[in-house]
Every structure is written in structure tokens, then in C-alpha cells.
């Protein structure tokens, strides 16, 4: 793939970033990934692998937690975005849905959705239209629109969080651990909606998931993170059929080996990107 076509096709390019918390704790040690325009890409990995940090580095929420991107570049629509505020980034169409929903508990569902449209300047009519659209995707939110978000169920809160992000009319959503704490059926429901949004609204997704099974079912491409490094990446279908992935993340077959650390041949991949 030549350089020119590459940038035109990708909505997001993360190139070899390093993230340090509190000036001392090295969390990401050179992560590179790309999200093609209109794609669903998944970051997989166990707790503490660096999935959330990667997403926050992109959405620039790291600063609020004393984290800092110290190396590498992040490009959204071909523009470097590390120095932008989250506010500016949302305005440009890249929004994050944080892990654990983070709905505004003392606001109603409807008010929550409206906060998503905070950065928009295109008028009430457009916002009202998008609100109806969100209610179409999440009919359940419509029935609960007047309830305080804090009193709704986990699934409804997750829908609220995704709906709220949609209200910003984004071209890219960074979705962190949407399956967390939800019943399998609900997880499926949420991923179906993600797929529909992707197809019908053309929203690109970068999602971080521990639930490898479902993530690889809906994503087109996957990156596997371990200890702040990408240890493997590939088309979702290949990853699903890969023996090691099956063993470490899908819980089928093999014995004795516990992580990619024990598999020599992945170790030096992607170094050339540095």
C-alpha cells in the first residue's frame, strides 16, 4: 500500500505512541494502529494491557489523569491531534464513550443525550432530528427519556452513553468496553446497534474489548495488546481462527502456555514502524 492511498483510506492513524503517567509510569510502549474510514476495529487484551490508555490518548482525555503522550503521532483525518482539547476533537467528529458508561446520573436520559450535542452549532432542528434518530436506534431510551440516568439499568446506561456520543454527530466513535457488566443478550444487542450505525450512518468505530469473542465477530480488524505493546494484529476472521488467539483469549484448546510472552515469533513484529 503506498503512502498516499493509505492516508486517504484511514480516518485514524496511531503511529508508535508512548504514554507515560505521572512522569514515571510507562504504560504504552509504542502502539501503532489504523482505522480505515467506515471500519470497525477492535483492540483486544486483558486488564491492564493498555486498551483504555490507547483510547484516551487518542481522545486526549489523558491529560485529565496526568497521563501524557511522549512519543509518536496520532492523526485523525490526516491532522495531528495530540495538542487539541477533547472539546475541539469532539467538534471535529471524534468522540469517546468511556468505560463504565459514565452517564450523568442526576440528569434525565434526554438531558444526557442533549449534553452530547454540546459542541454543535447547527441549530435546534438538526439536534432534534438526531435525537429522534437516536431514539429509533435505542427505542428503550425513548420510554425512559424522563428518568434520571442514575436510576436506569446498566444496559440502558450503556445505550445512553452511546446515544449521547451519537448526538455529537461524530464520524468516529471510540468505544471502551461496551460489554462491561452486561448480560450476554444485551451485549449482543449493543453490538448489533454498533454494526447498524456503522453501516447506515457511516460511523467508524475503534472499540476496546475484553470479550474477544464478540469483538471479533463484529469487528473487521483486530489488534491484540499486551503490556502496552501490540503483540499481534490481523483481519478479524484470521484472528478468530488463529490457534494462539483461540487459546489465550477464546478459551479453547492448548495447554501450558498462558500468554503471548511465551510465543517467541510475535515479539518483534511492527518494530519497523518506529
Amino acid at each position: 500500500m503506498s503512502k498516499e492511498t493509505k492516508s486517504a483510506d484511514n480516518i485514524l492513524e496511531v503511529n508508535n505512541i508512548e504514554v507515560i503517567y505521572n512522569h514515571v509510569i510507562l504504560v504504552l510502549k509504542g502502539v501503532s494502529l489504523t482505522v480505515p474510514r467506515g471500519g470497525i476495529v477492535s483492540i483486544l487484551g486483558a486488564n491492564g494491557a493498555g486498551k483504555t490508555t490507547t483510547l484516551k490518548a487518542i481522545s486526549n482525555l489523558l491529560n485529565a489523569e496526568r497521563g501524557e503522550v511522549t512519543k509518536g503521532t496520532i492523526k485523525f483525518n490526516d491532522d495531528e491531534i495530540q495538542s487539541l482539547t477533547p472539546n475541539e476533537l469532539v467538534r471535529r467528529g471524534c468522540i469517546q464513550v468511556m468505560e463504565g458508561r459514565h452517564c450523568f446520573g442526576h440528569l434525565t436520559i434526554e438531558e444526557n443525550l442533549l449534553t452530547g450535542a454540546y459542541t454543535r452549532k447547527d441549530g435546534r432542528a438538526a439536534i432534534a432530528r438526531d435525537m429522534e434518530k437516536v431514539y429509533e436506534y435505542f427505542p428503550r431510551l425513548k420510554t425512559r427519556r424522563k428518568s434520571l440516568a442514575g436510576y436506569t439499568s446498566g444496559g440502558e446506561q450503556q445505550m445512553c452513553a452511546v446515544g449521547r456520543a451519537l448526538m455529537a454527530s461524530p464520524s468516529m466513535i471510540l468505544l471502551d468496553e461496551p460489554s462491561m457488566g452486561l448480560a450476554p443478550q444485551l451485549v449482543e444487542e449493543i453490538f448489533e446497534i454498533v454494526k447498524n450505525l456503522n453501516i447506515q450512518e457511516g460511523v467508524s468505530f475503534l472499540l476496546a474489548e475484553q470479550n474477544t469473542n464478540i469483538a471479533l465477530k463484529y469487528a473487521t480488524y483486530g489488534y491484540i495488546l499486551e503490556n502496552g505493546r501490540v503483540v499481534m494484529d490481523g483481519v478479524a476472521k484470521d484472528l478468530r481462527e488463529n490457534e494462539d488467539v483461540k487459546e489465550f483469549y477464546l478459551g479453547v484448546g492448548g495447554e501450558g502456555r498462558k500468554s503471548f510472552r511465551d510465543v517467541k515469533h510475535y515479539k518483534r513484529r511492527k518494530r519497523w514502524l518506529a
Binding site: 485529565a64 477533547p86 459514565h102 450523568f104 442526576h106 449534553t115 452530547g116
Partner: protein, 318 residues
């Protein structure tokens, strides 16, 4: 026996014997209650949006009132001086956000609190430098506020209502109503409540914390100005006022640090309680109870209901 009589019976006998005097005391309590409520409101706004207890709120009251009075003294017409005083509070809010708050993001609450103490002493010094240290009279009449009083004949006695007190009540009510509408209906208001609920999430949907902070400091600057005018009309505008402003603390403990209705109800309870206690029970303790009564009430509340009457509803799903 006599002590018990003096505590539990005599005050009520007195109240019954002179109902007109009781009404007068209640009215005085109501008026100071409103001023406490306005003071507390300024604290609540900032605490809600940024989790900072703004020690400088009291000096902001003095500072805003002094700017108004001094502008008038310099020859600016009263209403224009009022508008300029509002602008000064806006400039102050933006400056505080830029110079202080922005650099202290993510620091511990105690550090932000210390910063507001620093700020308050800076404003005292700065204020004395430009406005001078001596007390000044509020330009009540020039602002079109009524100054007379009306006397009612009731219960074979009289009740005197100062017009300025009535105006204070009306203005406070309008201010609270406007703020309530602003919070619940506007985009910025929603953003503000979102920030109060969850900083991180507010950031993630693109709400700019810096902007919100500047706005709440401005809003509480306006509340401070209103408080300063009302308080100044009753006494004088002087730096001593900022000590009185600390009365807002028991009000906040009573009403809850994050609740606007709490600030109002808390203010009224303290106002009524203080006056009644001073007049009917104060003699037993040698008078002067008005100064500490509020703090004792606050202490009792801290023991039994630390989140206050209207503290943030703790949302728990079952």
C-alpha cells in the same frame, strides 16, 4: 425549676403576650435569612461545578460592592456603574480561571481551597489599594431601591417593614428563579450540571471545563454583587463584611454544599433561628448568641446528617 421555666415556658409566654413583636422578630430573621441564602448560593454554584470551596466568596461580595460604589463616586451614573460592576465580575471570573484554576486542574481539593484563600487575601490587598480601606455607603437610592418603611398596625401593636428588605427578598427570589431556569433549560446550564455530575464524562462529550468554570465564577460574582448591594444598604460597604460571609458555612452545612434549594432553606432556617434564639433565649446566656448559634446548629447537623438537608441525593440502584 426556674431555669426550666425560663427555657421552656417563659419565651412562649412572651411570644403570646406580644405577637406583634414576634412577627417583627420573624421578619428580621427572614431578611437576614435571605442574605445568608444569597451568600451561600454563591458558594454552592462554585462548589457544584468544580468541587472547590471558594473561600474568596466573601471578599467577592465586598469587592463587587466596592467597585460599584467607587465607580459611582468617580462620576459614573448609577446604572452604568452597575453594568460596569457586572463586567468587572466577569473579568475577574475569567482571570481567576486563566491564572489560577487552569493550572491547578487535577490537584487535590485542599490545594484548590488553599488557592482560594490566597485569592481572597490578594483581593483584600488589591481592593484596599484601589478602593481605600474606609467603609463606604451603598448608593441605595441612586440605584432606584426603595429606602422608606411601612408601619402596619396589628395585634394592638405595630410591625415595621423596611422597603429595602422587601426589595432584597424580591431580588433574591428573581435571582434564584433566573438561575434555576438557566440551569435546567439552557445548553450551558446542562453542561454545568453535567460537569458537576462527572468531570471526566463531561470532558469526553466535549464540554470545556475552562469555559464552564469561568461561567460559574461569573454567576457567583453576580450573586456576590447582589448580596453586596443588599448588605451594603443595611450597613456599610466595608472589608468587615467578608467575615460575616463566613456565616454561609453553617448555612451550607445545613442545606448541603451542592443544593441551591438547600442554600435557600438553610439560609432561612439560620436567619429565623438566630433571631428567635437571640431575642427569646439569648438573655439566659447573657446575650450575643447570634454570633455562634448558627455554628452550633451546623455542628449538630454534622453529627446527625452530614450531607445536609438537601445534599446531593445519593443515587443507588437496586
Amino acid at each position: 425549676m426556674e431555669l426550666l421555666y425560663n427555657i421552656f415556658i417563659d419565651p412562649f409566654v412572651q411570644m403570646g403576650a406580644m405577637p406583634d413583636f414576634l412577627l417583627q422578630v420573624l421578619w428580621e430573621g427572614f431578611v437576614s435569612g435571605i442574605l445568608y441564602a444569597l451568600l451561600a448560593l454563591g458558594f454552592v454554584l462554585i462548589f457544584k461545578a468544580s468541587g472547590v470551596f471558594n473561600f474568596a466568596q466573601g471578599i467577592m461580595v465586598v469587592f463587587s460592592a466596592l467597585s460599584l460604589v467607587s465607580l459611582y463616586a468617580a462620576g459614573v451614573p448609577a446604572y452604568i456603574a452597575l453594568a460596569l460592576a457586572i463586567l468587572i465580575m466577569a473579568a475577574l471570573a475569567v482571570t481567576i480561571e486563566r491564572v489560577v484554576l487552569r493550572h491547578l486542574v487535577n490537584q487535590d481539593d485542599i490545594i484548590l481551597f488553599m488557592a482560594t484563600i490566597g485569592l481572597s487575601y490578594f483581593l483584600i490587598g488589591f481592593g484596599e489599594l484601589i478602593f481605600g480601606g474606609e467603609p463606604k455607603a451603598m448608593i441605595t437610592e441612586e440605584l432606584g431601591l426603595p429606602t422608606g418603611s411601612t408601619t402596619f398596625d396589628i395585634f394592638d401593636g405595630i410591625l415595621i417593614l423596611q422597603h429595602i428588605d422587601i426589595a432584597a427578598a424580591v431580588i433574591a427570589a428573581i435571582l434564584v428563579a433566573v438561575l434555576a431556569i438557566f440551569f435546567s433549560k439552557t445548553r450551558i446550564g446542562r453542561g454545568l450540571r453535567a460537569v458537576a455530575d462527572d468531570h471526566q464524562a463531561a470532558l469526553s462529550v466535549g464540554i470545556s471545563l475552562n469555559q464552564i468554570w469561568a461561567i460559574v465564577w461569573f454567576a457567583s460574582g453576580i450573586v456576590a454583587l447582589a448580596t453586596g448591594i443588599m448588605w451594603g444598604a443595611k450597613s456599610d460597604v466595608s472589608f468587615a463584611l467578608q467575615i460575616v460571609a463566613l456565616k454561609a458555612l453553617p448555612v451550607l452545612i445545613l442545606g448541603g454544599f451542592t443544593s441551591v434549594p438547600g442554600a435557600i432553606v438553610g439560609g432561612l432556617i439560620i436567619g429565623f433561628g438566630e433571631k428567635l434564639f437571640e431575642v427569646y433565649w439569648g438573655g439566659l446566656l447573657g446575650g450575643g448568641v447570634e454570633g455562634w448559634f448558627a455554628y452550633v446548629i451546623a455542628l449538630i447537623f454534622l453529627l446527625f446528617r452530614p450531607q445536609g438537608l438537601f445534599g446531593e441525593k445519593i443515587i443507588e440502584r437496586v
